[in-house]
Symmetry: C2
Subunit: 397 residues, 2 copies
């Protein structure tokens, strides 16, 4: 029997999904599982756009162009204009979700063995894509005590070695919910220019900012026109995760030409998803304000409940729909698995994403978990009842 | 301005799509372009399945499991049973088209620098995925004079060095249309066992065999249970290329567990596409026999027209929907570009895929082109009128 590749053996398991078999087993045993592990909102996908897809006549479900349907790309600049971002359709390349956008960007920007700098905790799958692209991930730790604020410029400066080719941010941040202020991004821009780096910013949570810090896009840093690459997606924006429609956005034409080579190898992004995405451009501001208000209420519930639990450390995040909390536990992987395998409260339990998987630094985040507030308030309360009870059980043992 | 990665600069352009900008320009100039360059059939996607998708109520277009919807995977074994292949749903992992299936398979089977052995001409994007996965592609040339038959066992044996980890076939073959007989696969199986290799077989054209050689799946080689990985897709089978739904199929559980790690990093395959794929399982045998008869008529038209052109060498392929022909030209890339840029006949032209891009051996295939018989007979005749006229113009110059 031939061996599995060594890289395959060593590939990290996604902390978001690796416990799924335990969740499936719990459900088969009749237990209700509240999914706070994954950013899969219960918010309705805008019905009008779903109806447009339904009404679209299809004879042959054909490939699209490798960079996405021209009709969809033609409409996207109007969406970005709402954020004061001026783009042409040629500066947008449609991908299979933000996932593929991250991967293609790494391939086009970085050679094997080069280093990608990113604050941690970070979106866990960046580590997976860095492994696939064979680039080194170098993390600059941010801390719960400061609400996971962007590390200061000196921390970035110290980390820059000749092998560093790019800095990657997620703003608003998954998994911490931090929103990075314009002033910090402008400071960072100087460093990026000074060292001629790429600045890759994942802005898929752009719509979800609740605090006093307004969202500021890296596309609004004109001095970084050739340096900035934005990772985007319709998944969170319109609660359309299953569409698998993302994008790479950049004003660096040579970079997009290179990414197009990779895009052609995989032929095209999904056609149905793009039909939906094109229809979703018409979604009005009222949808976003209602959804934002709903998330903010959920955040407030989650934070209040967590802060009321003895031994739990939790700040109030300004953006996205995640809370990264510190629990009175010593091994988050074991704890999250135990919640699914051995614990129940009112015949229910809660699924969380173990915090360790969001750190590139080995051993970090062992007491932390990511909670996605993607369920309605009733379910969130029930999930928090489970967690509260579970922590009590743990402390009794 | 930061540099594009060297691997990005060196990445090969897909021969199937790289001339698209010239085709777009020709269309903008009012020229009709017959697309024989890409395997995008004009065959209708089964209407009943499209209607099922339309009727499916969707509130939230959610992520699916990373290995695909359980309901879809549960129905797939019945499809394979028609070919005498016994599978369980756990032996199938749903991917973003066959493209992703190829890429994930390479990552899970092979380490960086290891060698993949494949007959050439080969599906061009294998080379692209090998580059992404950082594995070496070693080609064993097959020849038009023998209808691109599978190279003999001795040719494979000679090519096996310690760094060879896998053999990759496409059967029925894209781009040559060759169908590999059971006897040859059984011979090759011995070699695979002897050297403990993986045997990766792309069977996406399984439905399209027209000759006396019946299709034989590598999944029906019981001695290779741990060695065989099948690449599959609904794109060609049901003329549903835009669904982006493929699969990796293997009885090697450890291998699928490893591929699942990569699948989790990219979260999930497209949800709409999977709804369609599930509905398509119900497609009856009458659909396939009608489609097969249609392709066979087209093949006969294409081959007869090509064989009637002076200086053109063309065999009659037994499967898939491609003809790989040798033309009286000296540089296929230049010729295919010229067809789009400078030639027209009745204000139309034809787009072909340059043959060189289907060879891993530098300099090979310069006189060859791939033609996909994916258009109806009237359009095929019009396309062949263009090619015939173009070759006359060339010979006069």
């Amino acid at each position: 029997m031939p061996l599995i590749s060594q890289r395959g053996e060593e590939a990290h398991l996604s902390p978001i999904r690796k416990l799924s078999p335990y969740a499936d087993a719990a459900k088969r045993a009749g237990k209700k599982v509240y999914h706070l592990n994954i950013g899969q909102p219960d918010i309705l996908t805008p019905a009008a756009a779903l109806e447009t897809v339904r009404q679209t006549p299809i004879d042959v479900l054909a490939y699209s162009p490798s960079n996405g349907n021209a009709s969809y790309r033609a409409k996207l600049p109007a969406y970005y204009q709402r954020y004061g971002i001026e783009l042409t359709p040629d500066q947008i390349l449609v991908t299979n979700g933000a996932s593929e956008a991250v991967y293609f960007t790494l391939l086009a920007c970085m050679d094997r063995g080069q280093t990608l700098l990113a604050p941690e905790p970070m979106y866990a799958n960046y580590v997976g894509f860095a492994e696939m692209a064979d680039v080194q991930m170098k993390a600059i730790t941010s801390y719960i005590e400061t609400g996971f604020a962007l590390p200061d410029l000196e921390a970035f400066r110290r980390a820059i070695t000749p092998d560093v080719k790019a800095i990657m941010l997620c703003n608003p941040n998954n998994p911490t919910g931090a929103v990075y202020p314009e002033s910090m991004l402008r400071e960072l821009a100087k460093l990026v220019l000074e060292h001629d780096l790429y600045l890759i910013v994942d802005e898929v949570y752009r719509e979800f900012c609740y605090g006093e810090t307004p969202f500021f896009s890296a596309l609004n840093l004109p001095e970084l026109e050739q340096h900035v690459i934005i990772i985007d997606s319709i998944s969170k924006r319109y609660s359309a995760c299953g569409a698998r429609v993302g994008a790479v956005v950049s004003r660096n034409a040579a970079l997009l030409t290179t990414i197009m080579k990779y895009a052609e190898v995989r032929l095209s992004p999904p056609s149905y998803g793009q039909m939906l995405a094109e229809a979703l451009i018409e979604t009005d501001a009222a949808y976003f304000s209602a959804v934002k208000a709903e998330y903010q209420r959920r955040r407030d519930v989650l934070v209040a409940r967590l802060q009321a639990m003895p031994g739990v450390t939790c700040y109030c995040p300004d953006g996205a729909f995640y809370v990264f909390a510190k629990l009175p536990i010593d091994n988050c992987d074991r704890f999250c698995q135990w919640l699914l395998e051995s614990f129940s409260h009112n015949n229910a339990t809660v699924m969380l994403a173990p915090g360790s998987g969001f750190y590139a630094t080995p051993g970090a985040g062992e007491q932390e978990v990511r909670l996605a507030y993607v369920l309605n308030e009733t379910d969130l309360h029930a999930a928090m009842d489970c967690l509260e009870k579970a922590l009590l059980v743990m402390s009794d043992e």
